[in-house]
């Protein structure tokens, strides 16, 4: 006699599930047929678009290591780590519509130059007048369990005991800090300390034409100094650690106010 498994409780009748697959298959085929019959779309042409993300501190290029930079608030600091997530990329058209790049999650790391060159493939050909993206990882993916690719926790951007992704990580030394070091791990996607910010850097009237013949590149500057200046000036003397919560929100508000600017666009 088969042993009763612990927790088996009342076994769900398996027989019912057998009808599931054929029924699903019928529904899917019906959906396909109906879908095809409605609006036969022409085979869309697509192209590629590239984002070049150049990190700076003010007007100086960002170099990891002992280089001293001013915060803009009278303090100085060096940078050993600068990483951030850029996700949910959307390309906007003049008529107010947009194309959302599917499954767009990128980890940009100043220590990995290749990661600063983001390739967006399969973009519908057309003219785009703007770009928007999320700095960080949307709340759904923060609580969606094990992930791969840019979201793989092996990348060191997953906070485990209060689970969720670190959206922006900036670390280094600062003489004004009580410890001589600082660690900004901007994270949190739940109210009232939600640090997710959507950025839409202005194209300033320029347009981007995507087609099989042209692979335009949007060159952006990412100015780390903007994390310290803005609505709430940040000083290492008071905030040398931020791991979510009110200070992370203040820093997020700072960088949302102008860390990303479009420098120029190569039509290529």
């Amino acid at each position: 006699m088969a042993t009763q498994l612990p927790g088996a409780g009342r076994p769900a009748p398996r027989r019912g599930r057998r009808f599931g697959w054929p029924l699903l298959a019928v529904l899917v085929s019906w959906g396909l047929v109906a879908g095809c019959g409605k609006a036969p779309e022409p085979a869309a042409t697509t192209g590629n678009l590239y984002l070049e993300l150049e990190p700076t501190v003010g007007t100086a290029p960002l170099v990891l290591g002992p280089t001293l930079y001013p915060t803009g608030n009278g303090e100085q600091f060096t940078i050993s780590t600068f990483k951030y997530y850029l996700s949910n990329v959307k390309l906007h058209r003049a008529d107010g519509t947009h194309y959302a790049v599917p499954d767009s999650y990128f980890l940009v790391d100043a220590g990995q130059p290749a990661s600063q060159h983001v390739a967006l493939h399969g973009i519908p050909a057309g003219t785009y007048t703007g770009l928007s993206f999320v700095v960080g990882v949307d709340s759904a993916r923060n609580v969606a369990g094990a992930q791969t690719g840019a979201l793989d926790p092996v990348k060191g951007m997953f906070w485990d005991w209060n689970s969720g992704y670190i959206f922006v990580r900036l670390e280094g030394t600062a003489a004004a800090s009580a410890t001589g070091r600082y660690k900004y791990a901007i994270m949190g996607f739940q109210r009232p300390y939600n640090t997710l910010r959507t950025i839409a850097p202005a194209f300033g009237g320029a347009t981007v034409a995507v087609s099989p013949e042209h692979e335009p590149e949007v060159h952006m500057e990412v100015d780390v100094q903007k994390m310290f200046v803005g609505p709430t000036p940040m000083r290492f003397a008071t905030v040398y650690d931020s791991e979510g919560g009110p200070t992370s929100v203040q820093i997020a508000n700072n960088y949302a106010a102008g860390m990303f600017t479009v420098e120029h666009i190569h039509p290529n």
């Binding site: 498994l5 927790g7 088996a8 409780g9 057998r18 969606a144 092996v154 485990d160 689970s163």
Partner: protein, 369 residues
């Protein structure tokens, strides 16, 4: 023709007849359901539905091996199962669990059961998904003290693990995704719903309550059931139950939410198997359930976030319980023990231990690594 032979034949016949319905429903004698694949209805819709990581025998066994494999920790001394012991509903008998290098932890290791139905984990609700939860104990220096890349390097260096993972997930090398999904196959399977209380509710054999148990059940519903609610015996909330005045040592949920109103609030634990999960509270301060009841009766201390449910009309704190009431409650709480769950061989450490078994297999001639 001996009677023995007739008896054996009869036994065989009964066995075949018993298996027939299983065959017809697609299970068959060799396809036993994967542990935990069948969900008890009384718990409602799971948060982590089986469809999200369909129970599969080899993946479950892999998760079980990993759960009991101390080699995953920094110095090879601590496995998940070191602190989460099956006989104690996967809780720890230690007040504070010990990590690598004998380092004391900060909290009492809680029971692991019915995790499919939980939205958050830990006493402070920090982890929000069963699959990513193991990253916390793996990397906590007071627990397993390692890093994710180090664990993956160890697993990939072990030819037996590499083979097993490849058999389940196809792609090599072993990734964090594969590791976390395999572990979740085991942890999600830890369903406990076969206590005497469950038999009682189903009016099944063996579920008849004694008079004190019945009195205890009624008392429980009246005095404990608002927090330890539903068939899971928790409402999933976080509350301050009057353990400290300031919570300087461990401030609870506030470290997760940054909200001052969450200071001193801790997850309301399920009371299933509670007679097995001593010691009690997030810091394991009470060794017995009698001490827990005494705390609720007269041991509470006030603090700004003390749950209002414990403030009586005349300023009295706690839940008044006479000695007789406490005895009845203890009798009822004992019915929540699921003996089968605490003894089920499929949840026990694999024998022989994963390391020993796989190494022995590799050494055999003719078996390619």
């Amino acid at each position: 023709m001996s009677w023995l032979r007739v008896g054996l034949l009869a036994c065989f016949g009964v066995l075949v007849l018993n298996l027939l319905p299983a065959w017809r429903t697609g299970l068959g004698p060799t396809r036993q359901p994967v542990p935990g694949a069948q969900l008890p209805r009384q718990f409602g819709q799971p948060v982590y539905a089986p469809a999200q990581n369909p129970p599969e025998r080899r993946a479950f066994e892999l998760g079980r091996q990993l759960f009991y494999d101390a080699r995953l920790s920094a110095d090879g001394t601590v496995s998940c199962g070191s602190c989460h012991q099956q006989a104690r509903a996967f809780a720890s008998p230690e007040r504070l669990s010990q990590g690598v290098g004998g380092r004391p932890g900060l909290r009492n290791a809680p029971a692991l059961q019915n995790l499919r139905w939980r939205r958050t984990f830990f006493a402070d609700g920090g982890p929000k998904h069963l699959e990513t939860l193991p990253l916390a104990p793996l990397t906590n220096p007071r627990e397993m003290g390692t890093t994710l890349p180090a664990v993956l390097a160890k697993l990939n260096a072990d030819s037996a693990y590499a083979r097993q993972f490849a058999a389940v997930y196809g792609q090599r090398p072993i990734s964090s995704y594969q590791l976390l999904r395999a572990l979740a196959q085991f942890t999600a399977a830890l369903t406990s719903a076969s206590s005497r209380y469950d038999y009682h509710v189903r009016r099944a054999a063996g579920g008849r309550f004694t008079a004190p148990e019945r009195r205890g059940q009624a008392l429980f519903r009246a005095k404990c059931g608002s927090c330890h609610a539903t068939e899971l015996f928790t409402d999933g909330s976080f509350r301050n139950n009057g353990l400290n005045r300031r919570f300087g040592q461990d401030s609870g949920r506030v470290v997760v939410t940054f909200l001052p109103t969450d200071r001193g609030r801790f997850a309301v634990p399920s009371l299933r198997n509670v007679a097995r999960t001593a010691p009690y509270m997030h810091d394991g301060r009470f060794g017995t359930l009698a001490q827990v009841l005494a705390h609720y009766d007269h041991g509470m201390v006030a603090s700004p976030t003390l749950d209002p449910i414990f403030r009586g009309p005349n300023g009295r704190l706690g839940i008044p319980l006479t000695a007789a009431e406490q005895r009845a409650l203890l009798a009822f709480l004992a019915t929540l023990t699921d003996e089968a769950f605490c003894r089920a061989p499929e949840f026990a450490a694999p024998r022989p231990s994963p390391g020993g078994k796989v190494r022995a297999a590799v050494r055999q001639p003719g078996i390619a690594p």
